[in-house]
């Protein structure tokens, strides 16, 4: 029997070995390669830029679609589909002069009609509201000139036009195909065009040889859908995938130490913080909020939650957005004062707080550490773990909470993105902190409506100072945007908004 088992095992291994499966080893030569296997976490619901708001889909769309303006290596805004632009009408209109050599994937040439159609479609769409909030209407001037009319002068307008919400597409393609069919096989003008979509398995794009910036070095991208982070990490190590964003923090160390892989990281343009319900419940009392802020040990949270691979912060804004002022800092840790504040607020015996948290480790681990820290001042967090969707409904939409770990990632790199979180007009809508404070509203309005950089910077400095002084939130940390990829892949640059362009890569 033992002989039989040995023979069967050897035969199985030989068969598998001789059939040569297992994909390209990460260690094999990549010189002749012209393809890239890019891991995405989930299946795109659609490839129509107006129908989606998830990161996996944006990873795909960033390769297929172009915007009017782009960023260069140094972060400067440079011409994209628009050759040039000028501000008219007291900065309430931006006039774009379009390139005349841009061809869509269906062979049609891009004209002003396509740009007007794409921008107006985005403006009318509720999903793109964060980026199009200041836009009123796009209007054709001539075949290659477009006016974008704004509701008011708006300094970050070009930043807003960089994002995935303002991609330009062929009007004819959308109208002829219909929204649904367009979402399954879209037509854009970017360096890669749609090739195929195997539901649940992969989306394949191939190089657009007529691309106006030249043909890309990598000719084919396969977006492989691998939901499980551990499996994705193994796929990277075995060479079944070449590129992944955001590995699980437990896999990160192993992946970095792998001989075949490289790691690129930068801090995210967004913050994680303790959100308080500022209007209802016990944390409407500023003394309790301050007590929490005086107790939190951010370094311990970063170390315990992410093995140190995050940045502990004491400023409410991330450093890479306009409006950040490095001089603004929360108060130093002071446990004794925190204990006094809890007593002053009327809780000499301490208090128990039901704390909802999403089952995502990004939120769960920091909340658990926070639980142990706040115990010291008599605040007992009763952690109620919820599936992400349930958590969002409970905290973000119903605002039925007192304290929770939340996050806000910038959709454009200007502190104006904080409007939705703090402005009184958004209270009960996007503003789940329920702040409606005249000072905060005034600073945000100055930042939004002024076009003077210094005035805007001062307004955002004041806003950050107010948030810190009144413990509106308690800043905790900034996560890393991490890329793990095959070490032979050249041209990879990390990005704080996680916008990656395979066009710049080569083997």
């Amino acid at each position: 029997m033992r002989k039989l088992i040995s023979v069967v095992l050897i035969a199985m291994m030989l068969t598998a070995y001789l059939t040569g499966c297992g994909g390209d080893s990460g260690g094999s030569s990549t010189e002749d390669r012209t393809d890239l296997i890019y891991r995405v976490k989930s299946e795109p619901p659609s490839l129509d830029w107006c129908a989606v708001s998830d990161l996996s889909t944006w990873s795909i769309l960033n390769q297929m679609a172009d915007t009017l303006v782009m960023k260069d290596e140094d972060g400067n805004i440079v011409p994209g589909l628009a050759e040039s632009w000028e501000f008219l009408n007291d900065n309430q209109t931006v006039r774009f002069k379009l390139r005349e050599d841009v061809k869509f994937h269906n062979g049609e040439m891009m004209t002003a009609d396509d740009v007007v159609y794409s921008l107006n479609r985005a403006i009318a769409n509720p999903i793109t509201v964060l980026s199009t909030t200041a836009m009123k209407e796009a209007e054709k001037v001539d075949d290659y000139t477009v006016d974008l009319h704004l509701k008011h002068a708006y300094e970050p307008i070009l930043e807003c036009l960089l994002g995935s919400h303002t991609f330009i597409t062929s009007q004819k393609a959308v109208e002829e195909m219909g929204d649904e069919a367009f979402g399954r096989a879209p037509v854009y003008s970017g360096p890669y065009q749609f090739e195929s979509w195997e539901t649940g398995d992969n989306v394949v794009l191939v190089a657009n040889e007529d691309y106006w910036r030249g043909s890309p070095a990598i000719k084919k991208i396969t977006f492989k859908i691998i939901p499980n982070a551990n499996t994705a990490a193994i796929a990277l190590e075995t060479g079944e995938a070449d590129f992944m964003e955001d590995p699980d923090s437990s896999d990160r160390e192993n992946l970095i130490n792998s001989d075949n892989l490289a790691c690129y990281e930068t801090y995210q343009a967004g913050t994680f913080y303790i959100a308080f319900n500022n209007a209802e419940g016990r944390f409407a009392d500023e003394r309790l909020r301050e007590a929490v802020c005086l107790t939190v040990d951010r370094e311990a949270i970063v170390e315990g939650s992410f093995g140190g691979n995050a940045l502990a912060i004491s400023n409410p804004f991330p450093p890479t957005v306009f409006g950040y002022d490095e001089n603004i800092k929360t108060k130093e840790q002071d446990i004794e004062r925190a204990k006094e504040l809890v007593v002053e607020a009327g809780y000499p015996d301490g208090l128990t707080v039901d704390t909802y948290v999403s089952d995502d480790p990004m939120y769960l681990r920091p909340t658990e550490i926070l639980q142990s820290q706040l115990k010291e001042i008599g605040i007992n967090l009763n952690i109620i773990k919820q599936e992400r969707g349930v958590f969002m409904t409970q905290v973000y939409y119903n605002m039925d909470y007192e304290l929770a770990v939340g996050s806000l990632i910038a959709s454009y790199k200007d502190a104006d993105y904080e409007w939705v979180e703090y402005h009184g007009s958004e209270a009960g809508s996007f503003n789940y902190l329920l702040t409606d404070v005249p000072e905060i509203n005034e600073y945000l309005e100055t930042g939004r409506y002024s076009t003077d950089k210094e005035v805007r910077q001062e307004a955002y400095t004041n806003l950050a100072q107010y948030i810190v002084d009144h413990s509106v939130i308690c800043p905790l940390f900034i996560r890393m945007n991490t890329i793990i990829c095959n070490k032979d892949l050249k041209g990879v640059v990390p990005d704080d908004l996680a916008r990656y362009h395979v066009f710049d890569y080569s083997w």
């Binding site: 598998a16 297992g22 619901p45 859908i225 691998i226 499996t231 190590e237 079944e240 992400r388 969707g389």
Partner: protein
Amino acid sequence: MLKFIGKRLLMMIPVLIGISFIIFAIMSLTPGDPARLILGEYVEDEAIQAMRDELGLNDPFFQRYFDYMAGLIHGDFGVSWVSDLPVLEEIGSRIPTTLTLAFIATAIMTIVGVPLGIVSAVKQYSFLDTLCVFSAFILASVPSFWLGLLLVLLFSLTLNILPATGVDSWQNFILPCITLASVMMASLLRMTRSSMLEVVRQDYIRTARAKGADEKRVIFHHAIRNALLPVVTLVGLNFGNLMGGTIIIENVFAMPGLGTLILNSLYVKNTPVVMGGILFIAVCISIVNLLIDITYSFIDPRVRDRLKG
């Protein structure tokens, strides 16, 4: 026999109605607004309300359920709330992967588990028996996702002889099928062993031996047929568990099957897809159980006689 099959098929109808009601109730009454989950975090309230109207979420629960069932009776499984594709199309594209996984795993489980169980019983207390029982004990205690990851670490990462993800070729199915089969194989092995041990102690086996039948004939002709009845039941039950187990295995091995579809749809409360997927699995399990009942009649003449009667 035909009457029996017809009766069993008719019995499936109330079972499926019951399952559909339970799943629909769970999807509708648990917290989380599908419109919010599908559209994302930063979407205006008007858009959410428009989507709720479009999906019929503002209608009363029973009206929604009866509307859904009315569609189902006409063969309309609805449209995915996320991709706008017909549910049948979405499920149809995933079925081959899941059924391939479930059938191959059932085959491996039966082909390996039953003979080992028999050998284990026949050679009771031998080294082989101890090895089999011990292995079964270990396999039954191991969570399938963990076993899957271990196999991937060994065969994909260390030896680099089998792929870890995808469904590109038959080799992609080796590790997931072994993982699925291993966990279920343990219960089958133990059941076969105990069933055989019980049968070989029966009087008629002793009689057969006393009449001079050789051991092979005693085991393969007299004992196995009787010992197999509970084993066949277990194969049927395990098939049902396997269909459920594919949800985890497909996720671990990144396979585009029904399991990953149902799981991802659950996250956003995509009710039509979840309903369609689970009803399909329920139908599969019901049919397999029916087949198992029919198989009884071939193994045990007494059952056949009862069915005829």
